[in-house]
Amino acid sequence: MGPLRALLIAFLLTAQASAESRLSDENAALLQEGLVTTAEAFVRPAYVAQSAAADALVEALDAHCVAPGATSRAASADVSVDPSVVEARFAGLLLAWQRSALIRMGPIMENEGPMRVQLWPDPKGFSERAVRAALAAEDRTLLVPGALEGRSIALTNLTSLETLIHAPLRRDGYPCALATAIAAFQADLAGDLVDAWTVGSDFRLAFDTSAAGNDRFADVDAVVRRLLAGAVVEADRLRKFKLLRGLGPAPGEARPTRTEAVDSGVGLASVEASFRALADFYATPFGLFDTAPEIGGSMDYVLLERAASAVADDLAFESASLVEIADEDGSRAAELRRHAESVLHHEVFLKSGFPSSIGLTAGFTAADGD
């Protein structure tokens, strides 16, 4: 036996049985229950809300938009044609997505992932260019139901929809019809996510039985790892992009036009929604975090939930927009920068504090590939 082979065998023997679940069957079952509860009480409802918001926007656009020369359908619809309704319902959809966005595992990660819903930040202006090109071409085939499937995400995402709706949106003409088509695409997408997270779907079956191992999830550890890794990525986005991209890291470095949702004015509400999502993710009764203390899981989630809730509550009472706050770059901006700093505590908890408390390795170095 050569020396290399001996060394390899020694390595292999010592490394054996290190990759199976580190949890006892009982603990794995407990975590599985917590995960199922989180799926039922947080994840699926978030997608349901997103889907409902998208449907409501489609309804508003259907009522608002008329084909040239056609009688307004609004006469028989139960909604106002006031464009502010369309704008409000767009805001509702954008904010509903901020809650779902905390989940970065499962069906949302297929194809281009979360960018299918919202391509932001978009410093290269892909969305704006896609909208301009579409308006210039006035391609009627894009308006056929289902036609946007497979089209560039730059055109079909919420950033493009925001551009169209806040152009402002005339009732007749191609832009209104295109906005309706994009809203319908988003509604279909959200509906698919609801279906995928509904008990009985292939994905839910794999998710709910991960403790026993299956083709999609080797064990419950894998589910916990992916769920937390996704939450870390979104928390990082909250800090780096939603807060600091526009505010800058220090006074004097704010750039208001770099904040999120400038046209629709809901940038600060989006930040609030993200903190609220974090809080509710932790606080889901009998969910993953609530269940974990039974097996030694860290209780830090209680404090982090309260901290995130407090930030969200504070932001709910703010009357200035994120653009205005960034523009002023005063005490409110400084406070938001501190909120950004506080997100790091969430990241560390999700990356290592919580996983290690339940005997899991986070695998945070694998969170988003190499």
């Binding site: 290399l4 020694a10 390595f11 292999l12 194809n111 960018m115 290592s352 695998g363 190499d370």
Partner: protein
């Protein structure tokens, strides 16, 4: 004049540094403090320690997201560590220089003196570029080639650095595709191979690929003396798979690992390939890698392929699996004369010796044999 107490104090300081803390900073402080014999003694301790290093691992902090290069002897004893202020990925070494490259989309790399473990230089990519995590030296060590992203076109390239002096960037080579990842060199000549992952990314959009449904990945060879890029072709069966990692085996046989990005077009089985005189061959061993290859290493007839996704390390001989082992987060790997090292998230195994990761850290994607 130095007293015996001063000399002993400095020697103790040096030993303490090697045992617990960042050798580089403390040694620098001690040497800068002036006393010739005490400083020289500490310097010799560091050099002896550095000389024992057989493997370099990357350890990343959960708290800061920054990495450090940790050095281990062939018997698995920790030798020293070099802290960094970025998340590290791959490494390359020639002579006394060890280059640590950042994880995409980092734009700063560090050049470490392997004799003293001092950071010699930190180089920043041009404003319109970032690094992709891998680099390779020419045979004579006079140049370092580093994979890069052109942020305007999102096309891949190779930055060329003159390693004399402060390591000056002297040129760039365009590549026929986006998302180049690992670059490796034939052991005996300046023939390089680059895995072009095919994915367009831009830091402003995070790390998510912008073209996952349309990309195509390939491997190219690069003759440095001519600056000539020779594609090895698009291989049937690699659709939807981003080819990212490489190792050069016996006779120049190339081993290629990728990961499945688009399940609509590809399968998780198609992530491990070999390329030789017969062309490209998909290796059956890839079936157990969970659609993801973390790292590859070869020595002689042996190859090890790791997968964080599957938590396995495969040992191959003549393209066939001869051993499979489980290791949570299996990633960094190195093979060399009398060296086998594989790391997972929490454990590194060097020649059979298990080494636990530091608290609140994980071992990261790659490692390097340093002898």
């Amino acid at each position: 004049m130095m007293t015996r107490r001063d000399v002993l104090g400095r020697l103790a300081l040096g030993l303490g540094v090697l045992a617990c803390r960042d050798a580089t900073a403390r040694v620098a402080d001690a040497i800068a403090a002036g006393a010739a014999d005490g400083g020289v003694a500490v310097e010799k301790i560091v050099e002896r320690a550095a000389g024992r290093a057989a493997y370099a691992a990357i350890e990343t902090s959960a708290k800061t997201g920054f990495s450090r290069a940790r050095f281990f002897s062939a018997s698995g004893a920790p030798v020293a560590s070099v802290p960094l202020d970025f998340r590290a990925h791959g490494m390359a070494a020639h002579g006394h220089r060890l280059v640590v490259l950042p994880r995409r989309p980092g734009n700063r790399l560090a050049v470490v003196d392997r004799r003293t473990l001092a950071i010699l230089h930190v180089k920043t990519a041009p404003p319109d570029r970032h690094f992709y995590g891998h680099g390779a030296f020419t045979v004579d060590g006079a140049h370092l080639l580093v994979t890069e992203n052109d942020l305007d076109t999102l096309r891949g390239g190779v930055g060329v650095y003159d390693t004399s002096g402060s390591m000056r960037r002297v040129g760039q080579i365009e590549l026929p595709g986006s998302g180049p990842h690992e670059i490796v060199r034939d052991p005996e000549r300046d023939l390089f191979h680059v895995a072009i992952g095919g994915l367009e990314t831009h830091p402003a959009y995070g790390r998510t690929p912008l073209n996952p449904s349309a990309f195509r990945s390939q491997v190219v060879s690069l003759r440095f003396d001519r600056g000539a890029v020779e594609p090895l072709g698009f291989w049937a069966g690699t659709e939807g798979v981003s080819l990212r990692h490489l190792a050069v085996g016996a006779g120049g046989r190339l081993y290629i690992g990728g990961h499945l990005v688009d399940a609509e077009r590809g399968t998780p089985d198609a992530v491990l390939w070999a390329h030789g005189a017969e062309g490209a061959v998909r290796l059956d061993a890839g079936r157990v890698l969970g659609g993801y290859v973390s790292s590859l290493a070869t020595h002689g007839e042996e190859t090890i392929a790791t997968s964080k996704e599957a938590g396995v390390a495969l040992r191959l001989r003549a393209d066939r699996t001869v051993e499979t082992s489980s290791l949570l987060g299996a990633s960094g790997v190195a093979l060399g004369p009398a060296l086998t090292a594989v790391s997972g998230f929490e454990m590194l195994v060097v020649n059979g010796v298990r080494i636990a990761v530091s608290p609140l850290h994980e071992f990261d994607n790659h490692g390097l044999a340093t002898r």
